[in-house]
């Protein structure tokens, strides 16, 4: 049996990639929150992340692989799951026994994927242009102002807010579920469940707060 040919191993891989992305989200949040409380620190860390060889050469490709794998595997599993019930029920009360978040991971996942397209267009692509195509000289103090300017547009803030709410729902089920998928469900796992729910609310709401804060506190160009 090759590694991903089994349904159980596929969900194990899904859980591991999800846990990796959960760790990444925490790191992303910690750096972003400094843009609210200490702009200079935000500039320093952003410059480090954008210019460090290890981050750019190894961690960033690993992260992109993790994101792409999680998305592709999510869609593959969804297609397989739909095929497993070719004839649908006339009446199906899914909400009677399972939460909306757990039954609609594909919807929250698709919204997050669309958001990532916007996020890459907003931040990643301009960085690539700035550093590698237009070859501007390094300026370690530019990141804070560039970030705040992005949140001047209320439509963008609205789209980000929508994505963060869906991210919270995705994490609400996905984070705790990943422990079950890797077979970790002893008393310690039960204790960790509370933390996963706390994390699922705290991190997306934190990102939402950062976007709103910069929208409400613009700086001059």
């Amino acid at each position: 049996m090759s590694l991903l040919s089994s349904s159980v191993m596929r969900k194990f891989a899904m859980a591991l990639s999800g846990l990796f992305l959960v760790v990444f989200l925490a790191q992303h949040f910690v750096i972003n929150i400094t843009s609210v409380i200490a702009p200079d620190v935000f500039n320093q860390w952003s410059h480090f992340m954008g210019t460090n060889g290890l981050v750019q050469g190894i961690l960033q490709p690993v992260l992109i692989f993790g994101v792409v794998f999680h998305f592709i595997m999510g869609f593959v599993l969804e297609i397989q799951n739909r095929r497993a019930r070719a004839v649908r029920y006339v009446q199906y009360k899914g909400g009677a026994s399972a939460s909306w978040a757990s039954r609609n991971m594909i919807i929250s996942g698709a919204v997050i994927m669309a958001f990532l397209g916007l996020h890459f267009y907003d931040f990643w692509w301009p960085e690539i242009m700035h550093k590698y195509i237009e070859s501007h000289p390094e300026n370690p103090t530019r990141y804070y102002a560039e970030t705040v300017h992005k949140f001047e547009n209320p439509v963008r803030v609205g789209l980000y807010a929508t994505a963060f709410i869906l991210l919270a729902l995705h994490l609400w089920h996905g984070f705790a579920s990943s422990f079950q998928s890797v077979g970790f469900n002893n008393k310690y796992a039960q204790g960790l469940k509370g933390f996963t729910k706390f994390y699922a609310v705290l991190i997306p709401l934190g990102f939402l707060f950062i976007a709103l804060y910069h929208h409400l506190n613009p700086i001059a160009h």
């Binding site: 159980v8 399972a98 469900n185």
Partner: protein
């Protein structure tokens, strides 16, 4: 009690099938759901119509034969019971009740509300057993000391009656709760450890081959299971399979 029944009618596996509406009167709250269907069928037969085909056997929640999706839930709105244990007092006069077969690609409809659940048998045959020499020198199972906690968990897993409600409830039509109960039942006992590696590999491979969906941990199976089989069995199966894969 006067009710309107909307029932899935399908002549055979090839027929497309459709919902048919049947008004029914004189239903007593103390009747079981299957007795209510018996009354319906008596009426249909007396009118020269085809009775509604549905699975049933023991009618006391033990055999796992009855398998109806009632108002969108397997075994109906009550918890920890099978369809045969559901009483009509759970419904009100004038209600409309939608009755469908358990839906899954791996559970093809045979006729009307009866589905073929032999996929479960094949999963069981793939490894849900222990090999015992029965040529006269069988060791008494009680001679092997087993921690009470393990025995209790194994017994709870063994309570699965294989009705298929887990598959019917799951949005992915996954058979993980059934398969995990059968794996756990043996994995927890010393007699079952001997063949544990091959058992989990074979049973999961058979489960996948039957065309069931992937488990996404929604937990619907546990809620709808008439025997209260716990999700902890699925976590155990995941551990067993990972360990078996690592052993090669």
């Amino acid at each position: 009690m006067k009710l309107t029944l909307k029932i899935w009618r399908q002549k055979n596996a090839q027929d497309k099938g459709r919902m048919v509406t049947y008004p029914i009167d004189g239903i007593d709250g103390d009747m079981s759901f299957l007795e209510m269907l018996d009354v319906l069928n008596d009426g249909l037969v007396s009118r020269g119509e085809e009775p509604v085909v549905f699975d049933h056997d023991c009618r006391e929640g033990i055999c796992g034969s009855c398998s109806l999706q009632i108002n969108g839930e397997p075994h109906g709105p009550d918890r920890l019971i099978t369809t045969c244990q559901l009483h009509m007092r759970k419904f009100s006069d004038g209600d409309t009740i939608v009755i469908e077969p358990f839906r899954a690609k791996a559970f093809p409809v045979i006729k009307d509300l009866m589905v073929d659940r032999s996929a479960f048998d094949r999963i069981q045959q793939a490894g849900g057993f222990i090999s015992v020499n029965t040529s006269g020198n069988t060791i008494d199972a009680n001679a092997i000391p087993i921690p009470k906690n393990d025995a209790d968990h194994a017994f709870n897993a063994a309570a699965c009656i294989g009705c298929g409600a887990c598959v019917a409830a799951c949005k992915n039509a996954s058979a993980m709760l059934f398969t995990s109960a059968k794996v756990s039942q043996y994995a927890l006992l010393p007699q079952g450890r001997v063949e544990a590696t091959q058992r989990v590999l074979n049973m999961v491979a058979q489960m996948d081959e039957e065309g069931f969906g992937n488990c996404t941990n929604t937990g619907a199976c546990e809620i709808e299971c008439p025997k209260g089989i716990s999700l902890e069995n699925i976590a155990r199966l995941n551990r067993e399979l990972l360990s078996a894969q690592l052993k090669g």
